[in-house]
Symmetry: C2
Subunit: 465 residues, 2 copies
């Protein structure tokens, strides 16, 4: 132990020398925010917190940590749900919060360049001010950072239209494990000059290198947007609806969120929203299209006549649109009747979503009849979210319950060739389930890449692999 402390002290001294004492905090100086992300694990204080202000600072930190074999956990907005940024004992936390700011919006190239620690909301605002749209959006936009979005290949509400974060990235600057800065701040749509190494760092959750700067491709702002809530008989009908909306509106289909019967019932019975339709329906789809009200209404009318849509509400105003979104967002208010819950972020191939939801329901009914189980999510992207938990504040949900439910859900994922992580990443909490979605050959290849790029395993050790 003493040896470890001495070695840690030496590392901290060298970090202070490189960055200045004010940029390296220890012990009680380290703010709470750097001791836990949103995964709900107990806070854990890192050995030190490094606050680099420049790419060179990041390089200096990694050079020292690489030389000394010091493990590093990289931190952005601390909004992760897989404990990727949650410090482990003895790690140096490297937070990019001071390496922030939008450097440029290039209106001709249609690109935005930002430092990794820039909050997503600031990126979005800068894009909008220049007349563009940032293709990345998620609930945590106010706190999450663009570097974290890239490192986790973040998803969110706009994936159907603009793709995951990966598809919005044109260029990156990355600091490798040994401190080497490697940069491809590319602004061009086409650039086939050797391996596109940037792809490897996107979604690798800080285990292969640290993203310091990002070039995003921007999009034109969509025109007038219509919001509708649509009732369908089942998942097949929802998929037929999706296919038709894509054909009718092409790139104008922006949102396609599914909410199953139990989810809508909870919104009505537990959160107090009004019944959206006079009858209950198996599945509601919240959709947004960039089109005129008239055309949207015409298309929905035709789909009702064809029997693909059972019932539909088209928002007549912004307030009306918010009223429809309130169903989708009702899940954020479950705290009113639950103190604990188990949430899931999985993918199922679109053709198997119906069968997977059936399997989840059977499991829930047979094994956990006392809990509330709801399914909702970005179904066009194959992405389902599941929330399982008590039905009232006094009902207990134990760690054992959680573990068993987790096992059950991931077994359903495996059965339907799905993914144990659609958009939240693997981090520490989903490592044991990675084999449900990846073959031994894939895991071996990932390990080969990890070893090649971080031979001393100092970058986010124990995450992903």
């Amino acid at each position: 132990l003493t040896d470890k402390v001495i070695s840690e002290d030496r590392v901290v001294a060298r970090l202070k020398e490189a960055l200045g004492a004010g940029a390296v905090l220890t012990g009680a100086e380290i703010p709470e925010r750097n001791c836990a992300d949103e995964t709900r694990l107990s806070p854990s204080r890192p050995a030190a917190l490094a606050l680099p202000r420049t790419t060179d600072d990041v390089s200096a930190v990694l050079r020292i940590c690489h030389e000394t074999g010091q493990p590093v956990v990289t931190q952005g907005g601390m909004t992760g749900l897989a404990a990727g940024a949650h410090p482990l004992d003895g790690e140096v936390a490297l937070s990019l919060e001071k390496l922030a700011g939008v450097e440029e919006v290039d209106p001709i190239a249609g690109t935005l360049t930002a430092r990794a620690g820039t909050p997503l909301a600031a990126v979005q605002a800068a894009a909008e001010e220049a007349g563009f749209l940032c293709g990345i959006d998620l609930g945590a936009r106010g706190s999450c950072t663009i570097g974290g979005n890239v490192a986790t290949n973040a998803g969110g509400h706009q994936v159907l239209r603009y793709g995951m974060t990966r598809k919005n990235v044109l260029g990156l600057e990355v600091v490798q494990a040994d401190g080497t800065v490697v940069s491809s701040m590319n602004k061009m749509l086409k650039n086939n000059t050797g391996y596109d190494w940037t792809q490897l760092f996107i979604g690798s959750e800080g285990t292969l290198g640290i993203v310091t700067r990002v070039v995003l491709g921007l999009h034109p702002k969509p025109g007038h947007v219509e919001t509708a809530l649509v009732a369908v008989r089942d998942v097949s009908a929802a998929m037929a609806l999706l296919n038709r909306l894509e054909t009718e509106f092409g790139g104008g289909l922006l949102v396609f969120e599914g909410m199953w019967r139990e989810f809508v019932a909870a919104a009505v019975e537990r959160i107090g929203l009004s019944m959206p339709f006079t009858e209950e329906h198996e599945l509601l789809v919240l959709t947004e299209v960039s089109a005129s009200a008239e055309r949207t209404s015409d298309v929905l009318g035709a789909l009702m006549e064809e029997g693909i849509v059972v019932d539909a509400l088209l928002a007549r105003s912004g307030t009306d649109s918010q009223r429809l979104w309130a169903y989708r967002e009702s899940v954020y208010d479950y705290g009113r009747f639950q103190t604990t819950f188990q949430g899931f972020d999985i993918s199922i191939p679109r053709g198997s979503i119906g069968a997977a939801v059936d399997d989840l329901r059977i499991m829930a009914r047979e094994r956990w009849p006392d809990f509330l189980h709801v399914v909702f999510g970005h179904i066009a992207d194959s992405n389902l979210h599941i929330m399982t938990g008590p039905t009232h504040l006094d009902q207990p949900m134990t760690a054992a319950d959680k573990a068993l439910i987790e096992e059950g859900v991931y077994e359903v994922v495996r059965r339907h060739a799905g993914s144990v992580s659609a958009e939240h990443g693997i981090g520490r909490t989903k490592r044991r389930w990675l084999g449900h979605s990846r073959s031994p050959e894939e895991l071996a290849l990932m390990r080969t890449l990890k070893t090649a790029l971080d031979p001393k395993n100092i970058l986010n050790p124990g995450r992903v692999l």
Copy 2:
């Protein structure tokens, strides 16, 4: 030499044992098509040609070649322009031509699964038959294969709307250098389970592994398409036009091809097309939008009033549209007056295209006033094509001319932070210029990846790196 021949013979014997004698050809049995790609180098016969029919066959070939250190060149449709598939002396050519066929179109997932050797045109036809559009299209569609498209991250005409091949790939099966088959035949838009290793193989030109099967995400077919030829004052005006069309038509803007003054003049004076407009203009843009004729006409009218557009022709029929496309395609008829030429495929950031074209013109006028120099290309994607060559059939263009012009063009690329390969790849012919677009740190990182995945350097050696 004798040792080498004996060792080659042993490898061939083992390959025949593994695949069957009919699937391994040698000497005169090897067809001409496997001795050269479209780069116009002298044909070169490989030591043997292996024709695997299954992924297991590919695995067997690589296992043997890995054990024996036998270099392998991978071949698809042989349409490459960078000599990537052109065999080098002593290499075993592994052609995927027999590993062909569309395995499935999944209309619910909106995906298509194909074996690597499937011609792109067959992939497109299968997608269309199922009511979808394949996002990848290029001139070589009849001969090029989907595996080759993935291996080279092919570009083409639809990149503005659907992205490079990379953006259309959802899943891959790859055989690694040692014969290990690694598979992620993913059909889901969201799948954040560890590193997306598939990205590494896309665009790596067969130097890291051999793509055997591909899952593509398909797109809805665009509705009614309008074609227009638009004259603008200069590149800035073209970029303003691009911005406005993207805003007006969103995902409906499909094509945006630029043709500079000299290119249009050659189409008229040398190929015999009629003058498109009464006056000459600095730059013509051929554009296609998915919108009604009325709306397209309204938007172009407004842009003329604003002075962004100088003149415009809107196609009134399919024949009319072909007449407009004939300008863009006139370059394929340069053989009428040239027997040799030097073609380029470069990218320049959109904001620097005007300055780069000016530089190219100055260079052409000062140093090669006797040659015809034309610039055209997918300017929305930053991609310029340049053709330089004689103005009549008897005019010589020597290898020395070609080399000097190459040097001059790539110097302009370097000056404007462009890319020496937009969509054709590096292969063998552009290796020496890779440093114009990539830093030493990037090249070192690429080499690290190559060494990790192909430690014996048997896969397409001498290509890319």
